[in-house]
């Protein structure tokens, strides 16, 4: 029975998702988004889907965030919402 830890991580995930969408700085969004991905990966490990978690760790938290930062580097951090 590991639903308590599961629920804690899920709460964090949702928190990160909302934060990533509402922060007014895109670089912060990028980092929060990375955190979101990593927490998600944690969640999946808890559920036993290790392969998916591994992929998400390398892709979501890793490469995606780099792409994100690279894109921000070439555009702007500014956002209205």
């Amino acid at each position: 029975m590991h639903w308590p830890i599961d629920i804690v991580v899920l709460t964090f995930v949702i928190f990160c998702a909302i934060a990533a969408l509402s922060v007014k700085d895109l670089l912060a969004t990028a980092i929060l988004f990375g955190a979101y991905s990593f927490l998600m990966c944690l969640l999946w490990t808890i559920m036993g889907a290790v392969d998916v978690a591994f992929t998400e760790a390398s892709v979501g938290a890793g490469v995606s965030t780099v792409f994100f930062v690279a894109a921000i580097f070439r555009t702007s951090r500014r956002t209205k919402d």
């Binding site: 899920l10 988004f33 036993g48 894109a71």
Partner: protein, 131 residues
């Protein structure tokens, strides 16, 4: 009371995935900044992946790898001992798709910024109507 609690425990994962998906969808439709929209899109997609992974979960089951591989010849593999490998497999594909879309969307954002010097949707619309 305990009924409600057990219902919550039984279903909360599905509910939370719905919430996550709603957040993503909302971000995708309502946000003004294109990159924010892309983030919303990604959250939306991961929520679906979460849903699938939740489907595949079994209580008291292990990760889908035979640990006793070398001696497995005599060992009977029981289905209830391992979580569902199929959903994991499907979601690997889904993740790849989502990262591909994400990367391409970022490239598009860079391209749009090159041309219009903005990523805000309302400003873009204004620029387009000016032209």
């Amino acid at each position: 009371m305990s009924d409600v609690l057990s219902l919550i425990i039984a279903k909360y994962n599905y509910w939370l995935y719905v919430i996550l998906m709603m957040i993503g969808l909302y971000g995708m439709i309502a946000k003004n900044n294109l990159i924010k929209k892309v983030v919303g899109m990604n959250i939306f997609q991961t929520a679906i992946i979460l849903f699938y992974v939740s489907i595949g979960y079994k209580t008291n089951a292990s990760i889908p790898i035979i640990t006793t591989a070398d001696t497995a010849h005599g060992v009977v593999v029981r289905a209830a001992d391992y979580i569902n490998p199929l959903t994991s497999c499907l979601m690997l594909t889904a993740i790849v798709v989502s990262v591909a879309t994400f990367g391409y969307a970022m490239a598009l954002a860079v391209r749009i910024y090159q041309r219009y010097q903005t990523l805000e949707e309302d400003e873009l619309r204004m620029r387009l109507s000016e032209e």
